[in-house]
């Protein structure tokens, strides 16, 4: 909301401070100033001059030479403006002065435009006459300015006076950010009240008196509210013998500064009152109102209505309408109708100031698809008391501006107005709550400035109707704190019982995942939780897969972000693809993020959110590199047993021969593999991609950070190498299972050191070689121990069709 400071000062006459002081003080008391702009920015040495004589330029057809009286002397100015004549009073920039912009009305240069005396086509020119655009404004805001040419002051302007002042530009426009709870501050009066309290100056709102013509409004119009749940008050007044004319300049200036374009006296009055009181008003041409009767009721499903912007709107039975005896004439609180709109021929005007149910206006505006300035205010829920005050103010202005004759009385259809709220005044409790030591008197002074009245007999504060946001103790404490100054409240740290800071066990597991991934060269990425349903096709997920049962967002940003992911691969592959396309080499990424598994669809209870540790890379490395990362991680979260790798649960998005589930103690904790070439192609990655996905909840259930020292072996180890010819179908995992089963306690470890297929090895076989290490904890092993163990192992291997290589 934008307001000229001069308008605020009109109601807080004692206000005297710099713009910056005002900005800081208002922000600290809770009316946040977003910014401010001086209207006279870059306007320097500009006075009112009167053109005394105009002559043709000797050398240029389009230029004229003017003698301009600037009060102290007469100067010569050459101009190309077509609209000036002798006797005109105009703004004149003197030599060394500055204007805000060019005459084309384009964007204003930051430093303005300096004006210097000089020659135009050989003729001396000692300054410049200005258009409204050069003064930094526009015809929108100064409708009396000519379309092209120099701004001309009214005849009574004083020659030699400050032109900027005369134009009302010695002012500053402040932009406020009003919080949604302070409906009352969406108005000049509301802000002025806050300013008065902030600066402890008297608040002097306009005194409203209407003389009226002695007639009774009830003879002109009747009002019936059918749906009182949506309209708690409807005030109507009538003005007749309307004379449409421009509104006075002071009103135009205030509106212009607020960003409202002046139109004519009638429209300007409704806009002015809306800005001043925060109560949107509507004016109908009473002659278009059938039966001179207003009925407020809901529309019917399927109804349509032409709003005054000429658009046909679709209605439904929750949209509140203003109707006359025959037809709809306006959508309540949103926009009036084409059929009752004010024209320049209007004779009699019906003013409406009403209080509609905010949430209904908000939803209707949304459904109809037109959020207007009025609806934006109504939806916050207005004070019914203010409606009557605002309509009276409008009538007062009609009289003061000579715009028409006000008919006596007001048609007022009003639900019983709620009694004013009372809140106990508890100064000690307030101080305890804030950690302050503010005197009771200071608090009462603040209340008085805010028009909260205090009754010493009941020790209660009475809340005025316009402060619907004040509901209880904490709200009162906030009022005290705001005007005491948040900056003056002391600082302390919470006392009381000590608590232990900690990170959850899951948090520690995740931290370890990050550490290990990074040690292994993977960098952390972050991906969205929602994605396109098309990813299932990209990942070759079968049509009947459970994974396709994803939660759908009812109002997504678009189909590409419409389902909650059930597997974490798309984000990873998309990120790798981004890197691949940007020609980044050897990219390794990991992500820790949730997948969302619905218990049933449509969703009736919250889904299961499972944190997934996803790793992916292309470039240097292979399947076993990834396997190494997985094992490092499991080991570092205390899962030190050897995992089993099961290649049988075929995942469609992985290479059928290069994938495995990671099984730990019988639990599937994740999987890894090479991405299926088709999937890689779907993501536009022309390299082999490896993935691993670890289910963090499973890991959390088995991980431990307890460690125990097991001693360092004292006795020497004995090693034996075995070289085998193995049928191709036998997996190394099967061999190792035999080693573990049969090696006995003394088999300390084994390591594969050679695997070979090809020449010298029979077709269908491969050669595999291991080093086995034997050691006992309590003695030096003897040959017999080793021989016995080896025999058992070899017997076992034979059962797999394995022969020792000679």
């Amino acid at each position: 909301m934008n307001t000229a400071l001069s308008w605020i000062k009109a109601y807080v006459p004692g206000l005297s401070c710099t713009d910056q002081e005002y900005c800081d003080a208002m922000t600290l008391s809770g009316t946040k100033v977003e910014g401010y702009e001086r209207l006279d920015k870059n306007l320097d040495r500009i006075v009112i001059g009167q053109i005394e004589k105009i002559e043709k330029h000797p050398d240029a057809d389009k230029l004229i030479v003017c003698q301009v009286n600037i009060g102290t002397k007469t100067i010569q100015i050459v101009t190309g403006a077509p609209n000036v004549k002798e006797g005109d009073k105009v703004p004149v920039v003197l030599d060394g002065g500055c204007v805000a912009g060019g005459h084309d009305g384009g964007p204003l240069p930051e430093e303005g435009i300096k004006i210097k005396a000089g020659k135009l086509r050989g003729v001396e020119s000692d300054g410049m006459m200005c258009s409204i655009e050069e003064l930094g404004s526009s015809r929108e805001m100064y409708p009396e300015a000519p379309e092209y040419g120099i701004y001309i002051f009214p005849e009574d302007a004083m020659v030699g006076a400050d032109a900027v002042e005369a134009l009302g530009l010695r002012d500053t426009v402040f932009e406020y950010e009003i919080t949604s709870n302070r409906v009352d501050c969406y108005s000049v009066l509301g802000i002025a009240r806050e300013a008065a309290a902030t600066f402890r100056q008297p608040f002097c709102p306009p005194q409203v008196t209407v003389h009226d013509n002695g007639e009774d409004v009830h003879d002109y119009v009747g009002v019936e509210v059918e749906d009182t749940d949506l309209c708690s008050r409807y005030c109507a007044r009538v003005c007749k013998n309307i004379k449409i004319a421009p509104s006075p300049r002071w009103m135009q200036r205030r509106l212009a500064a607020a960003g409202i374009r002046p139109i004519n006296n009638l429209v300007d009055i409704t806009n002015y009152v809306m800005a001043e009181y925060g109560q949107p008003m509507h004016a109908y041409d009473l002659d278009t109102i059938a039966g001179h009767k207003i009925i407020v009721r809901r529309a019917k499903d399927g109804d349509t209505f032409m709003t005054l912007d000429g658009q046909l709107r679709n209605l439904d039975s929750e949209v509140l309408m203003i109707c006359d005896a025959e037809k709809e004439v306006g959508i309540a609180g949103i926009m009036g109708g084409e059929n009752s709109k004010i024209t320049d021929d209007v004779k009699t005007v019906l003013f409406e100031a009403a209080t509609f149910y905010g949430p209904n206006i908000r939803k209707s505006a949304k459904r109809i698809g037109m959020r207007t300035e009025a609806s934006g205010i109504f939806e916050k829920g207005l004070d019914p008391v203010n409606a009557a005050a605002a309509i009276d103010r409008a009538c007062q202005l009609i009289e003061e501006l000579g715009c028409g004759e006000v008919v006596g009385g007001m048609v007022d259809v009003c639900e019983p107005i709620k009694p004013l709220r009372k809140i106990p005044f508890e100064p000690e409790k307030i101080n305890r709550f804030l950690g302050t030591d503010i005197s009771r008197e200071d608090m009462l002074k603040t209340f008085e400035m805010l028009e909260l009245s205090y009754d010493p007999a009941t020790e209660e504060i009475t809340i005025p109707s316009f402060r619907q946001d004040l509901e209880g103790f904490a709200d009162i404490a906030e009022e005290v704190a705001r005007f005491f100054g948040y900056d003056k409240i002391p600082v302390s740290l919470p006392s009381g019982e000590a608590t232990t800071g900690k990170i959850s066990f899951k948090g520690r597991v995740e931290e370890k995942a990050r550490d290990i991934a990074e040690y292994c060269g993977f960098s952390q990425g972050m991906c969205y939780s929602f994605e396109s349903p098309k990813v299932f096709d990209k990942l070759l997920i079968p049509a009947d897969s459970e994974l396709r049962k994803a939660i759908t967002i009812s109002n997504p940003l678009g189909e590409d972000y419409s389902i909650m992911r059930t597997l974490p691969l798309n984000g990873m592959l998309t990120s790798l693809s981004t890197n691949y396309n940007r020609r980044n080499k050897d990219v390794r990424l990991y992500e820790l993020g949730n997948i969302y598994l619905p218990k049933s669809l449509p969703l009736t209870e919250l889904p299961e959110e499972r944190m997934q540790f996803t790793l992916g890379f292309y470039g240097e490395g292979d399947f076993f590199t990834m396997k190494g990362v997985v094992e490092e991680f499991l080991e570092h979260v205390g899962m030190k047993k050897k995992p089993v790798y099961d290649p049988e649960d075929k995942k469609p998005f992985l290479h059928p021969g290069r994938q495995a589930d990671v099984v730990y103690q019988g639990e599937r904790v994740g999987y890894l593999g090479e991405v299926h070439p088709k999937v890689a192609a779907n993501y536009g990655i022309g390299a082999r991609v490896y993935l691993a996905v670890i289910d963090i909840p499973k890991v959390v259930s088995m991980a431990t950070f307890d460690r125990k020292y097991e001693g360092i072996a004292k006795y020497p180890a004995v090693t034996r190498d075995i070289s085998m010819v193995v049928p191709k179908a036998v997996l190394v995992g099967q061999i190792e299972a035999i080693l573990e089963q049969r090696g006995g306690k003394i088999l300390e470890g084994y390591s594969l050191f050679d695997i070979y297929e090809g020449e010298q090895i029979q077709e269908g076989y491969k050669s595999i070689a291991y080093t086995l290490t034997f050691r006992a904890k309590d003695r030096t092993l003897e040959d017999a121990d080793i021989t016995a163990a080896m025999k058992k192992i070899l017997n076992g291997l034979e059962s797999l069709g394995i022969e020792l290589r000679q």
Binding site: R362, A474, E478, S492, G501, K502, E518, F522, N594
Partner: protein, 339 residues
């Protein structure tokens, strides 16, 4: 005999001195002290010495042997040093050749910022907790004093799954879930992912992260809120950081405030970073609304507390001078490597 011994000694010492290498020195040792060495040979000639003189001669021989051994050792040390020196000279490296690095990966700037925030609050006795990202409308809104028709619901541009379930728009529902458990006092922070239907651009993302903080205890004051957050700001942005609290409105806190910190780029003088104001808006906070306490079965007459919410991306963007939020979700390795 004595003369012979004297001669051997002189000659041996001379050759030891003259030895240029360890090998040469060894030859000297062998030729005098070896099995067939001069001194050994001399001992063999003891038979010809009168028995009464033998101990004396023996002693003399041994003295010479000891002398030579010492001299040999001494020379050996010198030669060894010289050899080592020569070897070291040969082994000189061009230390400016490239390093062989174990390519360690990089942590996401969000996580780095989060870990810093967590460290600060865990140090102050706060527990880090989590809550669901797909959340009940009740926890995200209603229990936070944002009833069904409240305009704040529009402000937050909520993604809905259905009427009852939303993607949480804030981490504040974790406050309610923690309070509902009924274990008091509470000091917690709840970091996590939140969602709002903002189109992606340089300053908006439909998915981002917040860190919620909540303290509930007896006698918690607004002054405690100020003190705690001022401490936090100093830890995060540096000891010199000043804070400013401005009144604001949130439905679930009263009084509410926004906290600005003095610009950590210019120290408050005003720069491009703080748009000339010297201050940067950093978080929202306030005293927990009595209605919220009541809904969680906590008696506002006995307990009070404060809450705050920080945007993680905001901190990451500010601290690391990242100028486009989209970078955080693109995962371009050239970006990630810089953290």
């Amino acid at each position: 005999m004595k003369e012979k011994l004297e001669k051997i000694r002189e000659e041996a010492l001379g050759r030891i001195q003259a030895a240029r290498s360890l090998e040469e020195l060894n030859e000297v040792r062998v030729s005098f002290l070896g099995k067939k060495g001069a001194l050994t040979e001399l001992l063999k000639g003891m038979k010809s010495v009168a028995p009464k003189d033998r101990p004396k001669v023996g002693q003399m021989v041994n003295e010479v042997r000891a002398l030579l051994e010492d001299a040999l050792e001494e020379k050996k040390a010198v030669l060894e040093d010289a050899r080592l020196e020569e070897q070291l000279k040969k082994e000189v490296l061009d230390v400016t050749l490239p390093a062989k690095k174990n390519r360690v990966g990089h942590r996401h700037p969000n996580t780095i910022a989060l870990e810093e925030v967590e460290r600060i609050f865990v140090g102050m006795g706060y527990e880090v907790v989590e809550g669901p990202e797909v959340e009940k409308d009740y926890y995200n809104f209603e229990a936070l004093n944002i009833p069904k028709d409240h305009p704040a619901r529009d402000e937050q541009d909520t993604f809905y799954i259905n009427d009852e379930i939303v993607l949480r728009t804030q981490t504040s529902p974790v406050q309610v879930r923690t309070m509902e458990q009924g274990k008091l006092p509470i000091r917690m922070i709840a970091p996590g992912r939140v969602f709002r239907s903002d189109e992606v651009d340089a300053t908006h993302s439909p998915s981002f992260h917040q860190i919620e903080g909540l303290v509930i205890d007896k006698h918690i004051t607004f002054a405690d809120l100020k003190g705690t957050l001022a401490e936090f700001a100093k830890e995060l942005f540096g000891e010199e950081t000043k804070v400013k609290f401005r009144p604001h409105h949130f439905p679930f806190t009263e009084p509410s405030a926004e906290m600005d910190v003095s610009c950590f780029k210019c120290g408050g003088k005003g720069c491009r970073f703080c748009k000339g104001s010297g201050w940067i808006e950093i978080l929202g906070c306030g005293m927990v609304h009595p209605k919220v306490l009541k809904m969680c079965d906590i008696d506002p007459e006995e307990y009070s507390g404060f809450a705050f919410g920080v945007g993680l991306e905001r901190i990451a963007l500010l601290k690391y001078e990242i100028d486009d939020m989209r970078l955080l979700y693109e995962n371009d390795i050239r970006f990630l490597k810089q953290f």
